[in-house]
Amino acid sequence: MELRIDWTRVERCRTLASAIVEPVEEFIAAHSTVSVERAALRLLGVDGVTADEVPAPNAIVDSLSETGLQSGVALAFGKALAETGLDPAALGEALALGRYALEDFSQTPEQAARGALRPHVEAALTRIRAQREDRAARMARLPQLPPPLLYVIVASGNIYEDRTAAVASAEAGAQVIAVIRSTGQSLLDFVPFGPTTEGFGGTYATQANFRIMRGALDEISEKLGRYVMLTNYASGLCMPEIAVMAALERLDMLLNDSMYGILFRDINMKRTFVDQHFSRMLNAYSGIIINTGEDNYLTTADAVEQAPAVLASQFINEEFAHRAGLPDAQIGLGDAYEINPDIEDSFLNQLAQAQLARQIFPNAPLKYMPPTKHMTGDIFKGHLIDAMFNLTSVMTGQNIHLCGMLTEATHTPFLGDRALSLENARYIMNTARHLGEEITIKPGGAIEGRAAEVLEGCEQLMERVAAMGLMNAIDAALFADVSRAPEGGRGYEGVFARAADYFNPFEDALRSAVAPVAS
């Protein structure tokens, strides 16, 4: 059911995306953030918390002077490594407990620091590569069900209940499990520590929680004979650190959007741009598929009106991702089924939009988000809206399919809700498996017309954004009707200009390992 598309417009949009992203990339190259630095420490093996429950990476980065920070924490930490002869984990603990201070070692020559770091950097990258290879081996051995990948969320607030839920979902047909974070975590400028059992509307993303979940899913994957993927959320104030944890614990996907935090969490844009870049380089190296958050445009604003903005955001996310070295196969661009279900022919518009994304991004594993905004307590109607979403997905060949819940308006999913939801997806996708291949879209009809309209609107929007620059465009509320100032929002204090001697061994290593992709 191919649409005829004006490909010159598509090319123009890609050119515009590059023009839009280029200046931001220059800013990124000249800056770092506290979270990038903490991520470097985590990669080296620093973990744990202080007596006051402050995570060691935070304690250490916060202990740096401003100039110390501007050179990158790796340098100071490397010096201490060289002097103390401790391994990074032990050193991190000692620093966190205040047994040493980084400034004690400021006189150590840079070369010694680099030398001391080298084996640990290598070790970290080796660990990540090992996880990547392990994943590849498991996926080859434990093949997945026919596409799309059915994706469900667990969100009880308690990692152990989540584990039960995840295993049950996998048995019921889920191919991807996402552990939704507690409200507020994305605004924390640190990553909580250890297994957690208390969250609201979700469960904290901690490395221990990642590990518990990965262990359970590995076990059930073996039992089921198919690899079940795990995902979590990076976007927020700690994108780089969560990317590290995900790499180490073999998550398979990660929510990672170049603008989500800015628009939807009022996180400073400069902070977000720098953070997303580093975290995406890591994602690229880890073989993790990112999931972008275009669905969020549609939860507050009207889905018909916002369709061009969604497409524009997909182009921009793609460009940022390419620049961070992510190949198409790892760019899970988002879209959502959020048009008011009571509009006549709304299904046709949904089809148009989904198929348009499919054709414009043929190699991206598109991530399709379910209806949420128009879901109500009428679970019976909700189940039907989900069915039409499932139908659209299978007709247009989406890849990552977040299953809608009939109880969307009521509570984070119950175990039984997830079973019904998976059954919904399986039934619809099976009964209409090859429908998309057996029909053609009427040339010049309503569906093609809608697709053309969206593409045209997208191009116009991107022209405006390119003309004023991305940061000013966001300031001017060109995305999601939200205005964010370049210096406003949370976490701006954590952004800093790199000194001339700024040093981040991981960035260097990743840059040579994951080359930017030409869009």
Binding site: A155, S156, N158, E161, A165, T376, G377, D378, I379, F380, T407, A409, T410, H411, T412, P413, F414, L415, G416
Partner: protein, 250 residues
Amino acid sequence: MSRVVKPYGDTQDDGKVQLSFTLPIEWSETADEAARQLVSRMGLHDVQVVEGRRIASGFSFFVLYASTSQSVDVEAIKLPSARAHAMTMDEIDAFIAERLGRKIRIAGACIGTDAHTVGIDAILNMKGYKGDYGLERYHMFETYNLGSQVAVEELVRFTKEHRIDALLASQVVTQKGSDVTNFTALSELLEAEGLRDRIALICGGPRVTNRLASELGYDAGFGRGTLPSEVAAFIAVTLAERLRHAAARV
């Protein structure tokens, strides 16, 4: 040993239950509250009316979630299962040949005015159900399928005339308790005719449970998803037991 369980929403023992119903009142905030109170009176707490709306003049529809404080001890459930004797067709034939030494005569029908024969056919016809052969295919059964809308009197007459060993009655329509009425009529008439003790009396249908069957004085009851071999095994074992008891009494 006991194993007490409660409904599971997203947390062990949260007791979460979903409900829906219609109330014969016009929708309003008060109607929502009426729905909430009604469910509270069922002993549920944390009652949330997540949907309440007018569906017609004077009628409102509600969807609710709530937590029950009730629980049930799974280990304490003593359910005499009619499906307990798992045997294959060949095993059952061999069992009958050995224990009874003769064919078992079976009659089945959809009784009363009920014309839903698919279920009883699934049990009796050669072809069977879900890959499990029907009773007609067994060497050691002689099977009569009397079809649909068979009056109870006619079935009893047939039972007498053909010296039936096992009688299978089906009821699918259950509105206003018509199934219970017909099943009861059949067992009472058999009793009155002095035939009850001589036969294995079995009922079935989508709403039948073995519990209901024993309440109605049947030897067994089979519900949704029954396989023919489950029924066959039950008949074979039951009649063999009877023979053993009868022998013991001699």
